[in-house]
């Protein structure tokens, strides 16, 4: 043991003499662990939130019985099933409006509620009597209480005028849901003796078959491992994970470069250790122990950094998830022990992977170095050829995935294969370029310039690969975001057709507002709207009701339409479908879609497909009058107005004064548009932050590679200095060399980045979100990114070059001394 500790001390003494190299190794490990763990912390936080949703008194993780063709069914089916031994519990669900806000109302029957319905928030025995006995309780999450601007104990009225039981905070409840006794829910939702679903607990004995008790009135829905929210948000988290993984690999490039160089520098030390009698096994074991110890320290620091990264990014991620999917994620980070363990694990595993080549070399290292002629050039050529072959194989895989892949994972697979292939082929590509330069060179210094660049390439190739990948991802993602941004704003301009939007607190106020508006001369048109929620083929679908008005025909953008599409909406037997829902249901123009309505099934022909960016739910647009005929409970609270620009401020002020409407209830088009664009920009703030992190880590990778290479460059540079080339000139040549290879890499990254953008737009977006965007190239943005990358390269190259320019002649003379 003491022997091992002594060898460890000797190995560690190397770092004391090479502090910058040590810092490089730690920075690589910390960056890799921090970015990966930060992203994982965010994903874990979101998944915990989804679990809360899924476990809310029987979410999608609970088996349940529902009516196959209607939103509710009679309560007596529950009684029949209980009598037949089925451990079922009824639940009724609907929406109510409180202070102008729409909230989900869930009625439960706590006595029969199965104890095993996921991790449902528990009601203790003491709470149970308060919950059931009049006046009862409305359970609410603290966030919802704050959103409703209410206090605990208050009994706010809903839009019908009826009052909720007093509000009572249940901390573990998900936001935006109110839980009451089912009897209260039936009264508030005006659905006496009706239930939405029956939650099924674990039966004590095998009950009678379902069909023998209720016939085909109910169908069994098995619990799903993945919730609807998880399915919808998969792509978002996959995107984050992909970024985290990319940053992790870029960090490992740094580690690989630092460990590789440290190994080369410590070769004589290792040989001396072996010559002095330390066995190969002991030396190699201690090498691994040293690496693991460093990875543990760096991993811990990385985890703390990752925590802070996650804490900084979480509010934007939460906003994105709320804006895109309606998912409620707490803005405060809480982490499980598994996260810490996984972070340490990934740091150690990453360090070992990055050091594999060096460790294998150490294991195979003969004690006598002289017996091994290096034949470096030949080995390098063989390696380049192998790497190029591997790149071709990876490109072939990308083509196969592109041709035959159907899933989102396949889409990301194409992207990953494309980038891996490009990174693998980069050294060979640069080698060819530099070889061409060498062949065309005539003057001796130029010849040396190209030849030396080629020799330097092997040491720099990993850092250049990191730069290529980081920049390509930046180009790709920036192009995609910019394309999306422009398309979105164009679409928003058409979609926000009305000049003023009003949201009344209830139907009565809606009627009053409409009557008041009819008397005003400054209102050119009143456009009532409505929304209802249904399930189509097991997916949540929103029915949007629009009035028949010329304004929509002129401005509402349709991607595809049947002849006379707008006119065909009016009778109520036709609908438009959102692009993402048409892909999910595989529905085209002319197909028929059937939705469950209170009075039975409602069928209509699809006569148009429209873009509906940012909406997580599928949407069907129908005539608003037809919607209200089919769904009489539809709140008639949404009103759009056409008003001349100059009359808008006066009209809004008058509306606010007359009906005590706040800014959330009445807004002009410009305000709504600005809010939408603000949400859009916030959605991509995370992407931009991760983009910047990745490019920053790639810059560090290049910097550390150059710095470590600079230390081993003296033997190549000293002879040139000896024959009369000044140190500043040598430094300038070194800088030119670094910038040349960086420039070649950056120029290659641009077309690769555009290919990445195309993959994101044409493959990943379509599979993830269901919408396809037009592909645009933004030259100014590309020039900006190329400039940033070159500046990063310049900064990375500057310090070693300045050190060379200022180097004391004594350091160069040492090269000629016969010392090692």
């Amino acid at each position: 043991m003491r022997r091992a500790l002594w060898i460890l001390a000797v190995l560690l003494s190397h770092w004391r003499r090479h502090k910058m190299q040590f810092a490089t190794l730690l920075v690589g490990l910390i960056a890799a662990t921090a970015l990966w763990s930060g992203v994982q912390a965010i994903n874990q936080q979101a998944r915990t939130a989804y679990d809360r949703v899924a476990a809310t008194f029987g979410g999608s993780r609970t088996a349940m019985l529902v009516a196959p063709h209607a939103a509710t069914f009679p309560q007596n089916l529950f009684i029949k099933l209980r009598r037949a031994g089925w451990p079922v519990s009824p639940a009724l669900e609907g929406r109510v409006q409180i202070n102008g806000r729409s909230v989900r109302l869930l009625g439960i029957e706590p006595v029969t509620l199965p104890v095993d319905v996921g991790n449902a928030p528990r009601l203790g025995a003491a709470d149970l009597s308060s919950f059931i006995a009049p006046p009862g309780q409305t359970l609410v999450a603290r966030e919802t209480l704050s959103d409703l601007q209410e206090t605990e104990g208050a009994a706010p009225p809903i839009s019908s005028g009826a009052k909720l039981p007093p509000l009572h905070v249940l901390p573990q409840l998900v936001p935006n849901v109110l839980v009451v006794d089912i009897g209260v829910a039936q009264r508030l939702l005006n659905k006496p003796d009706q239930v939405s679903r029956l939650l099924i607990g674990r039966p004590k004995s095998k009950p009678a078959p379902l069909a023998s008790i209720v016939g085909d009135q109910l169908q069994l829905i098995e619990p799903t491992a993945e919730t609807e929210l998880e399915r919808l948000t998969d792509s978002f988290h996959l995107n984050l994970t992909a970024f985290g993984l990319l940053s992790f690999f870029v960090g490992l490039f740094i580690v690989n470069s630092a460990v590789g160089l440290a190994f080369e520098q410590r070769l004589p030390m290792l040989r001396t250790l072996r010559a002095c009698g330390a066995s190969a096994r002991l030396v190699n074991t201690v090498l691994v122990v040293e690496l693991v110890a460093l990875a543990l320290v760096a991993g811990l620091i990385g985890l703390v950094c990752g925590y802070f990264i996650a804490a900084v990014l979480l509010p934007d991620v939460a906003a994105s998830l709320r804006g895109l999917y309606g998912a409620q994620i707490p803005g405060q980070l809480s982490l499980r022990p598994e996260w810490w363990l996984a972070g340490i694990g990934i740091s150690v595993a990453g360090a070992l992977v990055a050091a594999t080549t060096s460790l294998i070399k150490a294991v195979r290292m003969p004690v006598l170095a002289t017996a091994q002629p290096r034949a470096w050039q030949q080995r390098q050529r063989r390696w380049l050829a192998l790497q190029s072959c591997a790149a071709c194989v990876v490109f072939a895989v990308a083509l196969l995935l592109l041709r035959y892949g159907e899933s989102l994972i396949a889409g990301f697979g194409v992207l990953a294969a494309l980038m891996l292939g490009a990174a693998l082929i980069l050294p060979a590509f640069l080698e060819l370029l530099l070889l061409a330069g060498q062949r065309s060179a005539r003057r001796p210094l130029a010849l040396w310039f190209w030849a030396d660049s080629r020799q330097q390439l092997s040491g720099l190739s990993l850092a250049l690969m990191a730069l290529l990948l980081a920049l390509a991802v930046n180009v790709g993602v920036s192009t995609m975001v910019e394309t999306f941004s422009r398309t979105f704003i164009g679409w928003l301009n058409g979609r926000l057709a009305a000049d003023v939007y009003i949201s009344a607190s209830d139907n009565a106020q809606g009627v009053a507002i409409r009557n008041w508006l009819k008397q005003r001369s400054d209102v050119q048109a009143i456009l009532p709207g409505g929304r209802a929620e249904v399930q189509v083929q097991g997916q949540p679908v929103e029915l949007l009701g629009l009035p028949d008005h010329a304004l929509y025909r002129e401005r509402w953008p349709l991607l595809e339409a049947a002849p006379r599409a707008w006119s065909r909406l009016v009778p109520g037997n036709a609908a438009f479908i959102s692009e993402q829902l048409s892909r999910r249901l595989n529905v085209r123009i002319g197909d028929v879609v059937e939705v469950p309505a209170p009075s039975g099934s409602w069928e209509f022909d699809i006569v148009g497909i429209y873009a509906d960016y940012g909406n997580p739910k599928g949407q069907l647009t129908v005539n608003v009058a037809a919607l209200i005929r089919q769904f009489p409970q539809t709140p008639q609270t949404r009103i759009g107005l056409i008003v001349a620009n100059e009359n808008i401020p006066g009209l809004i002020a008058a509306l606010q004064k007359q009906f005590a409407l706040d800014d959330r209830s009445v807004a002009d088009q410009a305000t709504v548009k600005a809010e939408s664009i603000r949400i859009f920009n916030r959605t991509f703030a995370v992407t931009s932050a991760l983009n910047a992190f990745t490019l920053g880590v790639a810059g560090i990778a290049l910097f550390t590679s150059l710095l470590t290479l600079a230390n081993s460059r003296l033997p190549q540079l000293a002879p040139l200095w000896a024959i009369g080339i000044t140190r500043p000139r040598l430094a300038a040549i070194e800088l030119t060399k670094t910038l040349s290879v960086a420039l070649f890499t950056v120029l290659l990254a641009v077309p690769l980045g555009l290919l990445v953008a195309w993959c994101l737009i044409a493959i990943v977006n379509v599979k993830a979100f269901g919408w396809r965007l037009p592909f645009h190239v933004f030259p100014a943005q590309l020039i900006g990114l190329v400039t940033v990358a070159l500046l990063a390269s310049l900064l990375a190259a500057l310090l070693p070059v300045v050190r060379l320019a200022r180097m004391q002649p004594a350091s160069l003379v040492k090269v000629f001394a016969n010392e090692r």
Binding site: V10, C276, G277
Partner: protein, 217 residues
């Protein structure tokens, strides 16, 4: 103490076998100091490497005291070097990241044979007292070689092997270093086998052997 019989070693160069050692026989007694000379490529260093267990022989035997070196595994050979052999190289092979003091006790600590009194005596005899806190790159060639000799003798080995220990030193320094080594070898009573090109230095030891065409002439 050291007994070598019929030792052979062949290398491959450009696909052709090169017979470096062709049946070497050699005996060395405890406390005896032997110089080994020969032209370049005669196999001097190879012979030293085989004795130290840095490389494996193709045929023949090497016996150091009661141990058959040629039958040892890689780990066994490492243990032999660690505990019973001191090695001095032309290139010094000091550990650049360790101070002189740490380099001196380096092998003794690995071998678990560190003796503070003996180390102190070595420091005095080798004149390293004022250099202990320095690093190898801050020393002259002669100083570095003195540290290397100190490191090799710090374990009180049975056998000291030196491969051209004065090859990188000027004539005066070389003589000083050799004189010191002879004194210390006499003090420890170990065997000493030195490979050298210098007939002058070879003449300063007890016995002078020449390696020619793979055999002791």
């Amino acid at each position: 103490m050291l007994s070598i019989r019929n030792l052979s070693k062949t290398f491959s160069s450009a696909g052709e076998p090169v017979h470096v050692l062709r049946g070497v026989d050699l005996d060395l007694r405890a406390g005896e100091r032997v110089a080994l000379t020969g032209e370049s490529g005669s196999g001097k260093s190879t012979l030293l490497h085989l004795i130290a267990g840095l490389d494996a022989a193709d045929g023949g035997t090497i016996r150091l005291e009661d141990t058959e070196v040629t039958k040892l595994s890689d780990a066994g050979r490492a243990a032999l070097r660690r505990d019973r052999i001191g090695l001095v190289f032309q290139q010094f092979n000091l550990i650049p990241s360790l101070s002189v003091a740490d380099n001196l006790v380096f092998q003794a600590r690995i071998a678990d044979r560190h003796d503070a009194t003996w180390t102190k005596e070595l420091v005095e005899r080798l004149g390293l007292g004022s250099l202990l806190k320095r690093y190898p790159e801050q020393l002259s060639g002669g100083q570095q070689q003195r540290v290397a000799i100190g490191r090799a003798l710090a374990t009180k080995p049975s056998l000291l092997l030196a491969d051209e220990p004065t090859g990188n030193l000027d004539e005066d320094t070389a003589e000083d270093v050799l004189a010191l080594t002879r004194d210390l070898v006499a003090r420890t009573g170990c065997g000493f086998l030195m490979v050298t090109h210098s007939l002058h230095l070879a003449g300063a030891l007890d016995r002078h052997l020449t390696l020619h065409a793979g055999r002791i002439a």
